[in-house]
C-alpha cells in the first residue's frame, strides 16, 4: 500500500494481534440463545440440572450425571449445554423465590414447543402454591375441554418443571398422576409440607385470589378432592 511504514513497525503492529479468550464464543452463543449453560440446583426433590441462555431458563431436569443431561438436552434442542459451577446469582434467587410461592418474573426459553403446550404450561403457572388442579381444569380453562389427555402429555413435556408447576396438576380421580421429575413420589414432595389443597373446576384463580373454588385443607397427603363432574 502507499503507507510509509518501515518493516519493523509493520511487523511489530501486526504482532499485536491477540486471540479471543477461550470461552468467548460459547458465552456469545449463550447470550443470543444458540447455546446454553447449566448448573446443579438443590431443590426439594433433590439435585436438578437447570439450563439457561440469554432468552431464559431452557431446562430443569433430573439426570443422573452431566453426560446424560447434555445428551438429552442436545437431543431435544439441538444445542450444546456447558456445565457451570453455579447458576447466576440473580437467577438462583428468582427460582428460590418462585419455589417459595412468589409470582415473580422468570424468563423461559420454550422454543420448540407448540402453542397448545405453551397454553397448558402458562395455565399451570396460574395455580397458586399449596393448591392443585385436575388436568381437566386446564383443558377447560384453555378452551379445549376434550383435550384432557393431551394436557397430561403436554405437562409431561414441560421442559422447566418446578418453575412451571406441573406438579400442581393432578388426576381428577384424586390420584396424584405422573411427574417428570422422578415420578409421583417427587410430585408430592415438591408440594409445601402443610399445603392447603384447593381445587377448582370452574374459575381461574386470579393473581393472589384465595376465593376461587372449594377449599379442603389437608395435613397429610396433598391429595385433591375429586372434581370430576363438579
Amino acid at each position: 500500500m502507499n503507507d510509509q511504514i518501515d518493516p519493523t513497525t509493520e511487523s511489530a503492529l501486526a504482532g499485536l494481534r491477540e486471540p479471543a479468550p477461550v470461552g468467548l464464543a460459547h458465552a456469545t452463543l449463550v447470550a443470543v440463545g444458540l447455546a446454553d449453560d447449566y448448573a446443579v440446583l438443590h431443590s426439594p426433590v433433590g439435585p436438578l440440572r437447570v439450563a439457561w441462555n440469554g432468552r431464559g431458563v431452557s431446562a430443569v431436569e433430573e439426570a443422573p450425571d452431566d453426560g446424560v443431561f447434555e445428551a438429552r438436552f442436545y437431543a431435544r434442542t439441538g444445542r450444546v449445554a456447558r456445565r457451570r459451577d453455579a447458576l447466576p446469582a440473580d437467577l438462583a434467587r428468582k427460582i428460590e423465590r418462585r419455589l417459595a410461592g412468589r409470582h415473580n418474573r422468570i424468563d423461559l426459553d420454550l422454543r420448540g414447543s407448540t402453542a397448545f403446550e405453551r397454553a397448558v404450561w402458562m395455565k399451570a403457572l396460574e395455580i397458586p402454591r399449596g393448591e392443585v388442579r385436575p388436568y381437566g381444569w386446564i383443558a377447560r380453562e384453555i378452551g379445549r375441554p376434550k383435550a384432557v389427555r393431551a394436557v397430561g402429555t403436554a405437562l409431561g413435556q414441560n421442559p422447566v418443571p418446578l418453575i412451571v408447576p406441573c406438579h400442581r396438576v393432578v388426576r381428577s380421580d384424586g390420584m396424584i398422576g405422573q411427574y417428570s421429575l422422578g415420578g409421583p413420589r417427587n410430585k408430592r414432595r415438591s408440594w409445601p409440607a402443610r399445603a392447603r389443597i384447593r381445587t377448582s373446576s370452574r374459575r381461574s384463580p386470579g393473581p393472589g385470589s384465595a376465593t376461587s373454588g372449594r377449599t379442603r385443607p389437608t395435613s397429610t397427603a396433598c391429595r385433591p378432592a375429586t372434581t370430576r363432574g363438579v
Binding site: L13, E18, P21, T28
Partner: protein
Amino acid sequence: MAPRAVSGLGGARRVGRNRSTGPGVQSHMMVELDPATDDARLAARLASDLDSSFESLVVAHQDRLFTIAFRTGGDRHDAEELVQDCFVRAYRALATYPPTRIRELRLRGWLTTILLNAGRNRARVKRVPTTELTFEPGAEPAVDPLTRRDERETWARLLAGLTSAQRTAVVLRHVDGMSYAEIAEATGRPEGTVKAHVHRGLAALRTALLAAERREREEIPA
C-alpha cells in the same frame, strides 16, 4: 417467540456443523487468503439460515474483533465484554434484516462499525482505562519469549499513548489489516481523514519509540 422454528433449529444446526467440519477447514485457510470471498460466503449462509451459521460468524471474527477492542481500549475484560456485546447486537440486527440485505453485507466492516459504536457507548459511561499489558504464552510464536514480550509491551504502551482517533485508525489499518476504504466506511470518516490519522499515528509512534530507546540508553551506561 418463534416456537416451531426450534425443532427446525436442531436439524439445521447439525447440518451447519457438518458443513463447517468439511469445507470449514478449507474456509479457515481462506481467511488468510481472501477474507472478502470468505465473508461473502458467510453472508450468504447467514442470509439463508441465521441460527445455524451464526457460530461460524463468531469463530471467523472473534479474534480480530477482540484484537481491535483490546488494542484500542486497553483492558482485557472490557474487550471481552465489548466483543460479546458486538456479536449480540449483530445477531439481533441480522434477525430483523431481510435475506437480500444480509447477503450484501460486508461483514468485516459491518462488525467493526458495531464494535466501535458499542465501544463509544461504553466509553461514555466509563473512561478509557489504562493499558493492561498481558503476555499469553500460548499465543506467542517460538522466539525468545522475553524479547517478544518486551517488544509487545512496548508497542502496546506506545499505541496507548496515541489519541483515540489515531489509535483506532492505526489498529484497524496495521494490526487488523483493513483497507482505507473499509476503515472509512466503518468509522464514518472520509478516507483522507483516516489516512491522516494513520500517518500521524505512525509518526507519533516513531517519535515515542526513539524517545523510549534514548531513555533506555541513558539508563544503562556503557
